[in-house]
């Protein structure tokens, strides 16, 4: 048999090997380390090397783009030598970067050409009032209104009693030179928020809040309204969790006794804790915060505002109100200027709330004529399918599995969470990537997705999610909940027990992913537009800041499409709230999104259930829907 020379860039001598030798074996001869998390099965793409010259045959180019192959990349475990060749083994981080399936959410940025004064509903104007005299007996309020009319053309303004009470002294102490902060309002008359001495106001901050009230997590952004920039961000568990983990439990809790006001206090408390800390750090007063936009699911919005949510959960699932009016901050209880404005964003239906309308805006779906799929993954998975012309939406109960809850060793995406897993196809030994490079404490959503995908592709799981107990590895064993797989032994983990995934966990995760995929399918079927028509798939929500699209496809959570169609957006709900805060036109657009979106109730017939059981399989009962996974399995 012919023998060829393989020359590695980092190795002085060429290695002589027979024709047909795998590059990875040649590398081993040269004592060159090529990483192979998948055990040389051509699945993970991490053994990619660059063929600088010479003849090779690539058995598989899975994970490599045509451009990669063009550039000479080849999978060392799938490529054989057919001539004298020169090889460069790139550093691991170069390969990681080339494998474009990992998506990191971008940070928030101001829109191009943004003009704060033009766009916002909040205005602060400086007014020099003519002092009163014996001849000019106009009252203080009338005097203020006249000055305002002269400066801005605004004829009427509403205010609170408290403002009137404070007005006289301020006017007199400031020498009738004041700054007036007001909200321009939507289709109504403006509302006065604050009167300050002009001298003081020139230095004073003018701030707003964008708030996303999630069932599990509440996020608050502090915004400098003078520039429109985000100055601080904070997230915290919703303190309501202690009264029930999901919206249904909260609704039931709210319906009993003082439950409603208790829940209201808890969520207001959660928000105010963050606001107080932010004020202290930013050196501002709560009174400097004059406006807050709030988004969240319909139940959270109702609970925050103290509106009984009971009818949300009962057939025919009707919310008391979808398009909420603006309300004075004093009525809501948020730690801000008492006369500030709280603007709750509009929702669509009981299970598609303001978090989705705000999210749709933030995602840009509404702007584009392209058919787009938008999904917000939380305890409920809400899905929007459409374009600038039409939009349909539905909500499917995925459960909290992807947030790390309901899974024995699940956790949130914090330090110590396993966020990426590879399993060796022959030994069934895992390699882990842990957030913060710490000892593993548990597994977060993206880690769970990777784990299921790897277990499936390496035969630890069958397509129904059964753990194959005939495998000869100590990692598979029988535990309290039936069969389980050990992801990390107690010795390597923080804490003193093995980190495992059980049959029950797997069932939970399969149900969660099946519910979401079934939601896609039913929406597409109902509107009569095939899912493949989606040119973009936008993902928002609670996957933390990271998701591996490829593995999400492997388990059948996301539809099998080219990876470049997917975009990961992070928390689109708070982003939408932020954009609505700083731009009046955005706020109007979100209202029209809420009106135009067609809500589909999945429980109306059997089609969701059909799609669900069909998706309750790895990757799906109809494998032809997942050609890339089919290819990876062979």
């Amino acid at each position: 048999m012919a023998e060829y020379n393989v020359r590695f860039a980092s190795h002085p001598e060429p290695i002589g090997v027979p024709a047909g030798t795998l590059l990875v074996d040649a590398a081993r001869e040269a004592s060159i380390e090529v990483q192979q998390p998948c055990g040389g099965q051509g699945r993970c793409g991490r053994c990619a090397v660059q063929v600088d010259s010479g003849a090779v045959r690539r058995r598989s180019v899975l994970r490599l783009s045509p451009a990669d192959v063009e550039a000479g990349f080849a999978l060392a475990c799938q490529t054989v030598v057919e001539g004298d060749v020169s090889i460069t083994v790139p550093p691991p981080e170069v390969i990681e970067r080339r494998l474009v399936t990992d998506h990191i959410a971008p940070e928030a940025a101001l829109p191009d050409g943004y003009d704060a004064a033009e766009s916002q509903s909040i205005r602060r104007v400086e007014l020099q009032l003519t002092p009163p005299s014996m001849d000019d007996q106009t009252d203080d309020w009338g005097r203020l209104c006249t000055a305002l009319r002269q400066a801005t053309g605004i004829e009427h303004m509403e205010t609170s009693l408290e403002q009137i009470r404070g007005l006289g002294p301020i006017l007199r102490n400031s020498d009738w030179h004041v700054a007036l902060t007001f909200d321009r309002g939507r289709n109504g008359s403006p509302r006065l928020i604050r009167v300050q001495p002009a001298a003081e106001a020139l230095e004073a901050p003018l701030c707003g809040l964008a708030i996303d009230v999630g069932t599990t997590t509440v996020s608050v952004w502090l915004v400098d309204l003078l520039t429109g920039n985000v100055t601080r961000q904070a997230s915290q568990y919703n303190q309501q969790i202690a009264r029930g983990e999901d919206v249904i439990s909260r609704i039931i809790y709210a319906s009993k006794g003082d439950g409603g006001s208790e829940l209201r206090d808890l969520v207001v408390g959660t928000i105010n804790e963050m606001v107080d800390t932010m004020c202290a750090r930013a050196k501002i007063e709560p009174a400097d915060i004059v406006k807050a936009t709030v988004s969240g699911n319909s139940t959270m919005m109702h609970l925050l505002l103290g509106i009984p949510p009971e009818s949300i959960r009962l057939e025919p699932f009707i919310t008391p109100i979808n398009h909420l009016p603006r309300v004075p901050a004093s009525e809501v209880g948020i730690a801000m200027n008492r006369d500030g404005v709280v603007d709750p964003l509009p929702g669509v239906a009981s299970y598609v709330g303001a978090d989705i309308t705000a999210g749709v805006f933030a995602s840009g779906l509404r702007e584009s004529p392209d058919t787009t799929l938008f999904i917000d993954v939380g305890t409920n998975g809400e899905i929007v399918f459409g374009s600038s012309e039409w939009m349909v939406t539905c909500a499917c109960s995925a459960g909290p599995a992807f947030e790390g809850a309901g899974v024995i060793h699940g956790m949130r995406a914090n330090t110590g969470a396993i966020e990426e897993v590879w399993i060796d196809g022959s030994t069934h030994e895992p390699s882990l990537r842990v957030i913060g490079n710490a000892a593993p404490r548990g597994i977060c959503g993206s880690g769970l997705i990777a784990l299921i995908a790897e277990m499936f592709l390496t035969g630890v799981l069958d397509k129904a999610g059964n753990i194959n107990q005939t495998l000869e590895t100590p990692r598979v064993r029988r535990g309290l909940h039936g069969a389980e797989y050990v992801v990390a032994w107690a010795e390597e983990a923080e804490g003193n027990e093995d980190i495992v995934i059980t049959r029950v966990d797997i069932d939970n995760l399969l149900r969660a992913k099946a519910a979401i995929y079934a939601g896609f399918k039913v929406l597409a079927d109902r509107v009569g537009v095939p899912l493949e028509m989606a040119e973009h798939v936008l993902i928002g929500g609670s996957f933390g800041k990271y998701i591996n699209v490829e593995k999400a496809i492997d388990i059948g959570l996301l539809p099998d499409m080219a990876w470049d169609r997917f975009e990961f957006l992070g928390n689109t709900s708070v982003k939408g709230a932020y954009l609505a805060l700083i731009d009046q036109a955005v706020r109007d657009e979100i209202a029209s999104i809420a009106s135009d979106m067609t809500y589909i109730e999945l429980s109306a017939d059997n089609s969701f259930y059909e799609a669900f059981t069909s998706a309750l399989f790895l990757p799906h009962t109809d494998l032809s829907l997942f050609p890339s996974v089919e290819a990876a399995m062979t």
């Binding site: 249904i248 049959r503 009569g528």
Partner: protein, 446 residues
């Protein structure tokens, strides 16, 4: 060609005016695509769109109604070949046959019994729908007497069976003013039968050996002024009738108007109740609009009526099991009571796990409209009150001594209220997942 929701949407005003009762034009379009609303509900649709949309909405099979003094029965308006595609709409009327050669006392007795028959099936009263009077004597007077005798015993709609126009005339005159089915016109008598049907303003049954014969007849009859018809494919052997019934349904659904009528199947001609029952079952499954049987005995009629009820239930509803207390592994009064909902998959997963454990238990299945435990709980259809009601209704307390009741783990929150609703019971919270039930039964409850 059926249009998709988006295709219809493009023909609508797209103003989201909400006057149709739906929040958006797209929501209305999707309902229209599913044939659940009428286009007329949109006040602003253009004439042009109306024309384009009208074609997909005409019913392919004519609705034919028969009426007696007390009751009506209708067949037709079907839109699918297979019930799962949408549903079968009009339950085939089951008619019991009497013959005018029997003496009138026998006729009266049989008709009275059939007419009075009612049986409760899961809270639904099942009844027979009509009486077929057959003119076998060839004598108009005898036929009229038989029809009259039958009418004295019932208020159900009639099917008058004779191919002799003179006999038929005497028959319908005995029940003038009603809407019986005049069964049958054929290629030799159809003109006279058409005259009778027009006078009687009654639907006409049309008999034919072949599809061609039936189609030619219905066209002629329709041109002569009768709109309501019922087709009787002459072959009765199961293989041949299945083929012909299937072909009629397929052609009708392709909008072939000459065969767009409901059909009738005569199981009554087999002369053997055993055979008759299988023929009736066959006719119910495969497309008959009316079924005629000769036998009348409760043990014969009851299963036929149940089969009809089953085949004609709405398949778009979730698959449910009957709410009841199920005995698993032969439970004794000392064994525990488990509770779950009547969604079939929920029931199966719980029942299979318990069955597989070999441990005996009583399984109370509540009526949650086919929802799983969590969904039903979320929607307020699986709460302490519902569970307590089921326990009382099924008499579970009389079956057990120990009175231990186990809630699904996901609904642990209900335990306090259930204790209040069921005084004297020991309420326990089971595991969240069915797979953990055997372990729970073995350890916690043992």
């Amino acid at each position: 060609m059926a249009l998709s929701g988006i295709q219809i949407y493009k023909m609508l005003p797209q103003t989201n005016c909400k006057e149709c009762g739906f929040p958006t034009c797209l929501a209305f379009s999707m309902k229209l695509a599913a044939k659940q609303v009428e286009l007329d509900d949109c006040p602003y649709v253009t004439e042009e769109s109306k024309e384009q949309l009208a074609e997909s909405s005409a019913p392919p099979i004519r609705l034919v109604t028969l009426a007696g003094p007390d009751r009506e029965t209708a067949a037709g308006n079907e839109v699918v070949l297979f019930r799962h595609e949408k549903k079968f709409f009009n339950r085939p009327g089951v008619f019991v046959r009497v013959v005018d050669t029997e003496d009138t006392a026998a006729i009266t007795e049989k008709v009275a019994a059939a007419s009075a028959y009612t049986v409760d099936y899961v809270g639904i009263d099942l009844n027979l729908d009509g009486i077929a009077v057959e003119g076998a004597s060839g004598d108009p007077a005898a036929f009229a007497a038989a029809v009259g005798a039958a009418r004295e015993a019932t208020g159900l709609p009639f099917m008058l069976v004779s191919d002799d126009p003179a006999v038929m005339e005497a028959g319908w005159k005995a029940v003038e003013g009603e809407k019986p089915l005049l069964m049958g016109a054929n290629s030799s008598n159809w003109e006279a039968m058409v005259d009778l049907a027009k006078q009687a303003e009654a639907p006409l049954g049309v008999v034919g050996e072949t599809l061609e014969e039936l189609a030619e007849l219905t066209q002629k009859i329709q041109e002569a002024g009768v709109e309501d018809m019922v087709l009787q494919p002459a072959p009765t052997a199961m293989g041949a009738s299945l083929a012909m019934q299937t072909q009629i349904r397929r052609l009708a659904l392709k909008n072939f108007r000459p065969l767009g009528y409901p059909t009738v199947a005569f199981a009554s001609d087999s002369g053997d109740p055993a055979k008759e029952a299988t023929l009736a079952a066959h006719a119910i499954c495969k497309y008959a609009g009316f079924v005629v049987v000769d036998s009348f005995a409760p043990e014969f009629v009851y299963p036929i009526l149940v089969l009809r009820e089953n085949i004609y239930t709405d398949p778009q509803k979730p698959i449910q099991v009957l709410p009841a207390v199920y005995e698993i592994n032969d439970p004794k009064p000392s064994d525990p009571v488990l509770v779950t909902t009547n969604f079939s998959i929920t029931y199966f997963s719980v029942a299979n796990e318990v069955e597989g454990s070999g441990l005996p238990a009583w399984l109370v299945v509540t009526d949650a409209e086919g929802m799983s435990v969590l969904t039903a709980w979320a929607a307020g259809k699986f709460d302490a009150e519902v569970i307590a009601k089921a326990v009382k209704e099924f008499g579970v307390g009389d079956k057990v001594e120990k009175k231990v009741i186990v809630l699904p783990g996901h609904t642990a929150v209900l335990s306090g209220e259930l204790e209040e609703e069921l005084p004297g019971w020991d309420v326990k919270v089971g595991p969240r997942e069915a797979v953990d039930l055997p372990g729970y039964l073995k350890t916690v409850l043992a």
